[in-house]
Point group: C2
Chain length 150, copies 2
DNA sequence: TATATTTGAAGAATTTTATTCTGTTTTAGA
DNA sequence: TCTAAAACAGAATAAAATTCTTCAAATATA
């Protein structure tokens, strides 16, 4: 596919951290004029290197600062159960991320709640009604050390 | 602090998914004109509800599509060892996220590599030279099911 | 209840930025 | 070295952000 060079990489790294720079500002950072920078960014968008632009929100202010990693074991390991689990989990807003993983558990979910009470309610009422789940194990986040996205 | 209403919440949800809408487009979505929408967004930025705007990149294209959750136990649990670990981990580019957690392990890291070979090299050469680490346990991501950021 | 006062909105005016266009330079290949 | 394609700079244009003014509604106050 498309080849990217060092300047493209610089632009990607800058935009990954802050997408609100103007092309003029970006141009100065990479020692080019505005128009080639504009063209490069469009190329990076069209070729898929840049997937999209989003706003990062303050989870604490939005009552979603209590983070838990929740491991899931399915009841059985057939395709139907798996598909059912995926489709159920997609609808639960507290589940922010979900991965199919190696090891003792089948899935690892990152869950975002207001507090322990909210998480407890999530486990009992939301996960509790997902039939495909065999067992769960919760790992609580005490503090966030590093997040290249947040 | 500042109180937000339902329209603010709508704007936050929209921008969290796509920050490239124009204020005119956003105005139509929430049934307002451009200027109040503009003011609301500025207010949400200044009050910290919106932390920043970023570009999401394609990890696969950038040779970072191999994701591993890496659990870490420290050698000892004193403040110096902990601080040393944090400061070391901050410098390692493959570590995309890191959390201080409850349970058998002390930290959970999300690691982003090109492939298994790269990850192996990361464990041996990068983690291998972090003195504070006692032991590690790797959980490999087989597939990403849900990601509210990606 | 009537009257200020504040708040939020609309729409126009202005400024800034994105985007396009044109001409030139560099680069790669024959 | 010559030619063609790609990449750049700078100007011109279009679109968006931002500001400003006015108005209406909501809220508070007498």
């Amino acid at each position: 596919m498309e080849q990217i060079d060092d300047i493209d990489l610089q632009l990607l790294n800058i935009l990954h951290d802050n997408s609100k720079y103007t092309v003029k500002e970006l141009a100065k950072m990479v020692n080019l004029s505005a128009s080639p920078v504009f063209e490069r960014i469009k190329r990076l968008e069209n070729s898929g290197y840049i997937k999209k632009y989003i706003a990062l929100l303050d989870a604490e202010k939005l009552n979603r600062g209590f983070i838990v990693f929740c491991n899931i074991k399915l009841k059985q390991h057939d395709r139907n159960i798996g598909n059912q689990f995926v489709s159920d989990i997609m609808k639960i807003e507290e589940v922010v991320e979900c991965y199919n993983i190696s090891g003792d558990y089948d899935f690892l979910m990152k869950v975002s709640a207001k507090d322990m009470k909210h998480y407890q309610d999530f486990v009992f009422n939301k996960l509790g009604s997902v039939e495909s789940i065999g067992s769960t194990q919760s790992t609580f986040v005490m503090s966030e050390i590093k997040n290249m996205y947040g």
